[in-house]
Symmetry: C2
Amino acid sequence: MPPPELVDLRRLLAEISDLDRARAVLEWDERTMMPPGGTAARAQQIGTLERLKHDRLRSPEIGRLVDVLASYGEDIPFDSDEASVIRVARRDHQKAARIPTKLKEEMALAAVAGEHAWREARERSDFAHFLPHLERNLELKRYYVECFDAADPYDPLLDDFEPGMHTADMAILLNELKEALLPLVAAVREHAEAVDDSVLIGVFPIERQRRVVADLLRSLPIPPDECRIDEAAHPFVTSFSPHDVRLTTRYDERDLAGSILSTLHECGHGFYENGIDSTLEQTPVCRATSYGMHESQSRMWENQVGRSVPFWRNFHKRLEAAFPAQFKGAGAERLHRAFNVVRPSLIRVDADELTYDLHIYLRFELEREMVGGRLPASELPEAWNTRMHEYLGVEVTDDAEGVLQDVHWSEGAFGYFPTYSLGNVIAGQLWDAVNAALPDLSEEIERGNYLPLREWLREHVHRYGRSLTASEIVERTTGGPIAAGPYLRYLREKYGELYGLPAS
Amino acid sequence: MPPPELVDLRRLLAEISDLDRARAVLEWDERTMMPPGGTAARAQQIGTLERLKHDRLRSPEIGRLVDVLASYGEDIPFDSDEASVIRVARRDHQKAARIPTKLKEEMALAAVAGEHAWREARERSDFAHFLPHLERNLELKRYYVECFDAADPYDPLLDDFEPGMHTADMAILLNELKEALLPLVAAVREHAEAVDDSVLIGVFPIERQRRVVADLLRSLPIPPDECRIDEAAHPFVTSFSPHDVRLTTRYDERDLAGSILSTLHECGHGFYENGIDSTLEQTPVCRATSYGMHESQSRMWENQVGRSVPFWRNFHKRLEAAFPAQFKGAGAERLHRAFNVVRPSLIRVDADELTYDLHIYLRFELEREMVGGRLPASELPEAWNTRMHEYLGVEVTDDAEGVLQDVHWSEGAFGYFPTYSLGNVIAGQLWDAVNAALPDLSEEIERGNYLPLREWLREHVHRYGRSLTASEIVERTTGGPIAAGPYLRYLREKYGELYGLPAS
């Protein structure tokens, strides 16, 4: 017999969850549907929902209930719905209780103003226009950090995106990636002529790209009654229930590869949202467990699937049929190679699989230094450009294609970037695990049957929501902690073969 | 210097307004975009937003503020923003304070269940399946009515849609319509051969209808940055700010007239939402003043404009160009006449301009009798069918095309129907007023210039929001009370001429 306090807690949590889902609907609408005239009112509406949610989450009433229920929650199975709800609600409450509503509001206002200024600044490649907003965001984040007793000022920020993970551990992991990738990218660059992507250069009418993407989506195990797909300038996925998932994608007539890979990427996110257990609805557990785990799903569908030989053995026919003039007789191998060209470049979102984590490392370093007060925001462009040269060997001549390219810092989202690389790392580990569990996986993908992969991920990752943390999921599926080894081995093997590198 | 309580009041009202707008976004999404899987979660989310809003509106804190501010509000100009905010907030608070949150919740649950059962019942033409839900809605409405000291139990229900209007006055008005329309429809039926709509019988591919509607919308003074149009099974309009208005329309390949008229109808609603003064945003005044006034706007654009000679002198060319096989050489007069055929029929939403109010009268009578306990819900189908014969001379053989045709009662929306006829009445009065003010209006419409009409309506109706009631707006624009005379004169002249009736 569950204690009566659990009924009260779930009622309050349901209200908070509904407010949060409503906010998500408003944001989805803003980014896919809303006419520009709605901007100002929408910011107010979202701000109000956020404030009501935060006030409720930090209320003494919830504090009392989670404290009373804590020992009950420890006596029942760890990953039961009830124990998970109590544990996660307690964590969320304790974190929210430290943050004054006023600070939360100030951060939200600064984020809106910052993003607005960033758009203008990027348009004109004018960092000075953005600088005061960046400084304001950093100032507010320092107040935010002071609400916690943190060993590293970056810890509370990282924790917002990757609950429970410490900066020191993330730094070790990302450093290991960097140290391995720098020589690997250098070796690939020495054999650059081995891979040719000229077949992808061309103009691909958007109407026809839409049909290719629709075709791809139909072949993926997405329940049409529970998902819809729209277009957005910056693709994203959100959900308002596990049974109401919204995907977005984008088209560029000069970038067919981008629309295919971004669709697979967003589907990976969508499968996660769609796969969380319905019994968790209206609780704080009914969400992806971390940004890194979310990204592991999208990156796996984009890279381990979408950039793989088996996928292209199946999908090349569709591309050839859709764009016969461009691709007639191109064949699976040629397309697979073209989709895997490595070429260090300026823009993170267009980066290939191998150089991607170097873009992340640079951002992780810079934001830690800014948050820690070791790098003044005014010196950011110079630091950016120097390190782009150092890590990627490219020269930044224009801040719009340099330090101003990403939205994250304009919104105060410090601590987000490293979860992209963490996602790659986890994807490498889960990919090993799923291939060990499903020895025929390659053949199934080659037959265009993606269901076994999706079902394995649902069973071992998605359904838990936040019942398990990212490291608990990795521990259960691989028997060990989060580690870069499998991902690096995957990259070395794949690109060693593609570029004909000498075995190391 | 406004009193400090006004600042507090506006802060609380802004929060309530944001919750209400958020709910509207969720409902719009549900009816235009949401995959079916989202239904259950969406009902919860909307329920939570409604409950939070109701709790806030009836809070003692708002009660104290509106009471303290009442005399200040009476000392400043009546239709100033401040006086209006205080007056309208006081009215809303006093009404909400009478209704227990629990009853509000029960009504919301019964509405969701009722609508669901109604859809099934209509599908199978099975009134018995719907009956218990209808009875439950009526029972809850009786509890609702008991929260007020009402002379007539229908008064508080009508007041939800038409603030300040009494049942007795509505009954006089609608009875006057019925008494005038019965002989007029009979006379028209005797001359039925005078108007021929065979030109509209055909199959009109939906893709081409969409282009015609897009063309029509471009010719209307709708700011594209502040509106969007989507498709919905039951067209409606909503807004999330005066600068973010959402129109919907529908297409049926056998009903071209329906898509043109419904687009004009919804535009009429949209102009209203779009025309409310921005200074009223985030207050309860920033809404249409009543359902009747809202409907006056939609019916005016649908009927006084869309079914008029000047409109067709302009628009016939576009229809002829879009569907040359069907309309080549049809001409303005033939199309105008076809769009004005009078033919008593079973379905309200498909009714012509002349018989429409008889459909309403029947519903108004029946719902008053049910609410007053004089007609048991179980006897509703028989009463419906008898009066359909009496008022419209048509035989109902199928409840799906009879008593089950409308969604309103399934959601507990008793008191809504009469506002449709009230809208016709007010449209008749405003149409006289705008034509007196703008003697060239017909010529402008014939030239396809709809801006003067829109601007006059914005100036005299839209911009006020709820600062003025429907009768105050009618009083200011026409110098007298709401009255059926102008509308009936318009109908008699128009249909007398179309059908060649002897002057009465």
